[in-house]
Symmetry: C2
Subunit: 152 residues, 2 copies
DNA sequence: AATAATAGTTAGTTAGATAAAACTATTTAT
DNA sequence: ATAAATAGTTTTATCTAACTAACTATTATT
């Protein structure tokens, strides 16, 4: 079999693998959330005190979209919104303790998956794998912010 | 940096990479179609003369869902439906020439992506990469049929 | 021949994600 | 001080993808 065809299949397998991770993520303790919600939570965790419009820019969607999504999370006690004292038009977003718990579970699912991989691969293989993926993904330096969208 | 953390990032990069492929797929000549539609087209291409209920089983969704989706594709002249002579309850699905064109474009986008990768990696790297991915993905022998769903 | 099961359709509904446009409140610029 | 810009909200509407349930047509079973 030629290498090109094999690579097509490999990429296909990778898609499937990543999709499996996603399915795992959405079952178990995070069943009640959508991918999109988990992604919002992740972004707010990463960029504490981010604003609605910054989120909108990051994700390249309208403010209204974010506003609605965030207010849902606020209703569910996952996010809080604090008005800026300096400029009262701004609201800073933060995770509640419950939001942080969700984040922890999310990371645990990821880490568990990684541990599975580390069981299968040896040191050298992991090294090469990381190097190769870096080589492949490096050209797209700007890591897509919409990573929680659908995938091929 | 410890290897576990690096792997987490690597998987993240891979997600982004695959998502980029997907975005590429849905722009350009295939702009007018959804991922789900392209997946139906792919399945019908692969399993010529498949029936609506077989598709439904494959994808683990209700027949009505498939029925509606397929009839949309028929309206758009991408798929044809031929009643079985032996058992008139069954209809065999096939791609029209237009449907086959879509499939060709779809595959071309994939192949172009692969060519990009082959430019970046050398022979050995490709070999190792394929091997490693096989190792990682092998445990999940049943390749998810829902691969066109959302991904982590 | 009557009843079960199967394939596919149709109608109606729901959920999620998005957008446009009109709006309020606030700050900045002229 | 007035006008313009900005942050965020709300309303209305759209699209996709899925579901349930009732339906028709056809075939298989008893």
């Amino acid at each position: 079999m030629n290498q090109e065809l094999e690579l097509v299949e490999t990429i296909d397998k990778l898609s499937g693998f990543i999709e499996t991770l996603q399915t795992q993520l959405l079952s178990g303790d995070l069943k009640g959330y959508t991918l999109r919600q988990l992604y919002y939570i992740e972004l707010i965790n990463k960029h504490e005190n981010i604003s609605v419009s910054e989120l909108a820019k990051m994700l390249d969607v309208k403010k209204s979209t974010i506003s609605i999504a965030i207010n849902q999370l606020i209703k569910r006690n996952i996010v809080t919104k604090n008005q800026s004292i300096i400029d009262k038009r701004f609201y800073f977003l933060q995770l509640t303790p419950q939001g942080k718990d969700i984040m922890k579970i999310h990371m645990k699912v990821h880490n568990d998956a990684i541990k599975q991989i580390l069981k299968i691969l040896n040191q050298k293989e992991v090294e090469y794998f990381i190097k190769t993926v870096n080589k492949i993904t490096h050209p797209n330096k700007k890591r897509a912010l919409n990573k929680y969208r659908q995938i091929t």
